[in-house]
């Protein structure tokens, strides 16, 4: 027993996560809230998380080289616009290429402004966002004015789509030309506690995966490899940490920053293209809905690491998926939050942190009462689930993070000894 308690003490965060997951599973067993763990939900999670993931990976490159990039949103917008336009005219993979290109150009602009002209990083990022919005609007009018389905605020439907695949045997994919069973779906349909939920998770992630999704996800290990196993990655990381020292060792600081920022534009452009090609099929104004900023937030509490961004974007994707697919399950989340807060308050009060414990307890009751008195969460609130999640996570995570030391600071060549 004491071993168990020691384990909890030493691994506070892990225990907390397991606790939340456990109760999530329990609540998911209730019929109304079953959508919390279905493969449909997880498939949607992946589709919604990937744009944030991609933009977040780009954000890592920029920030690790020392440049704050608030303009991820604008670069993503360019990705959506160019992606839709090229996909409509030439097909989905052209859309992908065009989206990357559109984002890259704007990344380059940001690099020129911040690195060569030493404009404040945040001011430049804000300017990029404004320019991107204006450009998208203007280009739409020019390109779609005479199209029946398009106009100033949206594009016509793209032609074609990117094909997808499923894992054979586990998710019903083809194997050597033959149809196979969908083991995970079968397990999911059995409604067994834990087994069906896990099957839902795995099934959602492996069934009908588009090749673009696959590419996007494989970028995670690729980025990890580039950043930690190549000389380029090492130098990029050192430039964002101590540019003066890096320069004295012969590293071309300006070049590294340019590459980092331009890459962030390319990644965000890809994110935008993905959003259009996989999710909506058209470009629509304001489609990005703040995802660029959420991506930046995920960089921060992902501690500037690809795995962290992967988890952060997964969390947002999940929140987003629930709010889109099943209002009832969002209601179930209220119960989950209430239970978690209750446990948290017991823990805090036990550790003599009475003020925080009392606040936690009050909030637990508040959420509990809200849960009991309603059958659904109003969809205006559901809509900003990702944003409030961002805020809450950042508030609690900011203390324990380690950002690149020189991020945001202007660098002039030769400033070093």
């Amino acid at each position: 027993m004491s071993n168990f308690l020691n384990f909890i003490k030493d691994n506070k965060e892990k225990t907390f996560f397991i606790f939340i997951l456990f109760w999530l599973l329990v609540i998911a067993q209730i019929e109304t809230y079953s959508q919390l763990t279905t493969s449909g939900t997880f498939a949607a999670t992946m589709r919604l998380a990937i744009p944030i993931l991609l933009a977040g990976l780009g954000g890592i490159f920029s920030e690790r080289s020392g440049v704050v990039n608030i303009g991820l949103e604008g670069m993503m917008i360019m990705g959506t616009w160019f992606g839709a336009w090229a996909a409509w005219l030439y097909g989905p993979w052209w859309g992908v290429a065009a989206g990357i290109f559109g984002g890259l150009i704007f990344g380059l602009i940001h690099a020129i402004a911040t690195v060569s002209f030493q404009v404040d990083h945040i001011v430049s990022g804000v300017a990029i966002n404004i320019l991107a919005a204006g450009t998208a609007r203007f280009f739409s009018v020019v390109a779609y004015a005479n199209e029946s389905q398009g106009g100033a605020t949206q594009s016509p439907r793209i032609s074609g789509e990117i094909s997808s695949f499923s894992l054979p045997f586990l998710s019903g994919g083809t194997f050597l030309g033959n149809e196979t069973i969908d083991l995970l779906q079968n397990l999911e349909d059995l409604n067994l506690f834990f087994i069906s939920d896990i099957s839902g998770l795995l099934g959602g992630l492996t069934r009908d995966i588009s090749y673009l999704s696959f590419i996007a996800l494989s970028l995670v290990p690729i980025c990890m490899w580039v950043l930690w196993s190549t000389p380029f990655g090492l130098q990029l990381r050192s430039v964002g940490e101590f540019p003066v020292g890096s320069e004295s060792l012969g590293i071309n600081v300006y070049l590294m920053k340019y590459i980092g920022v331009t890459l962030s534009g390319a990644f965000s452009g890809l994110a935008g293209a993905y959003l259009v090609i996989e999710s909506s099929g058209i470009y629509r104004e304001n489609q990005t809905g703040g995802r660029g900023f959420i991506a930046l937030a995920s960089v921060i509490f992902g501690n500037w690491r690809p795995t962290g961004v992967l988890m952060g974007s997964g969390l947002f994707g999940y929140a987003d998926a629930l709010q889109l697919r099943s209002e009832e399950s969002v209601h179930g989340l209220l119960l989950l939050i209430s239970i978690v807060l209750l446990a948290l308050s017991i823990y805090l009060l036990f550790n003599k942190k009475s003020r925080n414990g009392a606040i936690s307890l009050l909030m637990a009751f508040g959420f509990g009462i809200w849960f009991l008195n309603s059958t659904s969460v109003p969809n205006e609130f559901v809509y900003f689930t990702p944003h409030i999640t961002t805020l809450v996570v950042l508030s609690f995570a900011s203390q324990r993070l380690r950002m690149p030391k020189s991020v945001g600071q202007p660098y002039k060549k030769g400033e070093g000894g």
């Binding site: 402004a113 430049s124 804000v126 404004i130 100033a152 703040g290 921060i300």
Partner: protein
């Protein structure tokens, strides 16, 4: 000799605008439109009497929004959340105003105060999160924009709505403000009849500008704010408390942001509907950057942006996409921030050279 530097600094916006016009011309040529024709049309339309009134009306909220952003900028803080702050302020103020019965000056004033307080508190959340939890205000204010918009949408649909005559249909808008809660157009007060109505809140905008000037350049609090923005270390050594200042700056910025919606609320629509103008928060950032956080500069900037928005409306009728104005705004802002930075650094180096030359001469 110092005069030439002052002139350079003064004319930088002009230079930046010229460059932007050049780039826009280039784009127009690319889409096969005559730039001369475009600009002439815009100018002619924009300078008609009706247009001038419209431009003045539009610039009121833009200017106030810019001032709100500028208060933050002066301290090195980025309040990107004016958008969420002002709509929350306007909605709550509209509802409070709709249920009150007071003599006009008091009624209108109460509406203003409610808007400023609500908006200020919303901004204050970001300030608090920054000081206590280290959350960067750019992200928190942006997130609060979306959350604020969601709250407004919810309140409008479920709490603050107007029932129609049969008491059955819910129209998402607040009740109409009584006469006492309305601000009549300036024309009525001044007795002008043949021009469209000029919003009386232009007086309010002027007051906001004066308040901003007084606060930032004339008070000791403003001194602390500016010092912290220019040299946080020296400011700390001189006794300024950075944490207190962060929260204060956000509260004040938010409070001013609350007034952004007032010209539309009490001077025009007299109620808050789902069609209440949005986007003024972001436009304010453009104007603040364009005007370099200067009270008069921002006024000119607001007028310029409003002019562009108004004058471009004529373009559609002549087969020129009026959205050219949108991309023009984007180009202007980018060229402007780069030019300002380049010129700023140049002026500083010149000042040092000039002063040392002058001192050497004396010796």
């Amino acid at each position: 000799m110092k005069i030439y530097l002052k002139i350079l600094s003064f004319f930088t916006p002009v230079i930046a605008l010229a460059i932007s016009f050049g780039l826009t011309t280039f784009i127009l040529i690319m889409i096969d439109r005559d730039p001369v024709e475009t600009f002439t049309l815009m100018f002619d339309y924009g300078t008609t009497g009706k247009s001038i009134v419209s431009i003045l009306n539009r610039s009121i909220p833009l200017y106030i929004s810019a001032v709100a952003v500028a208060v933050g900028f002066k301290m090195g803080m980025f309040n990107i959340g004016v958008e969420g702050q002002y709509i929350l302020g306007a909605l709550i103020a509209a509802q409070v105003g709709a249920v009150l019965i007071l003599p006009r000056p008091l009624h209108v004033l109460t509406i203003f105060i409610v808007a400023a307080v609500v908006s200020g508190i919303w901004a204050g959340i970001s300030g608090y999160l920054k000081v206590k939890k280290g959350v960067h205000e750019v992200i928190s204010t942006i997130m609060l924009n979306y959350i604020g918009a969601g709250i407004v949408a919810y309140l409008l649909a479920n709490v603050f709505f107007e029932k129609d005559e049969n008491n059955s249909l819910k129209v998402p808008q607040t009740n109409y403000l009584l006469e006492s809660g309305q601000l009549p157009p300036l024309n009525n007060i001044l007795g002008i009849e043949d021009l469209p109505n000029l919003n009386s809140f232009i007086v309010g905008a002027v007051f906001v500008g004066i308040f901003y000037y007084w606060l930032v350049w004339k008070t000791s609090l403003g001194f602390d704010l500016r010092a912290t923005g220019l040299n946080p270390v020296a400011a700390k050594f001189s006794g300024a408390d950075p944490n207190k200042l962060i929260v204060l700056a956000m509260l004040i910025s938010g409070g001013i942001a609350g007034l952004v919606g007032m010209s539309n609320l009490v001077g025009y629509f007299h109620r808050y509907t789902i069609d209440f103008p949005t986007g003024l928060g972001f436009a304010g950032i453009t104007v603040a950057l364009l005007g370099r956080n200067h009270p008069v500069g921002m006024a000119l900037g607001a007028l310029l942006i409003s002019f562009l928005e108004r004058s471009s409306q004529i373009l559609d009728l002549n087969n020129i996409p009026k959205e050219i104005e949108r991309i023009m705004q984007g180009i202007v802002i980018l060229v402007v921030v780069v030019s300002y930075e380049v010129v700023r650094r140049y002026i500083l180096t010149q000042e040092v050279k000039l002063a040392s030359r002058m001192v050497d001469k004396d010796e």
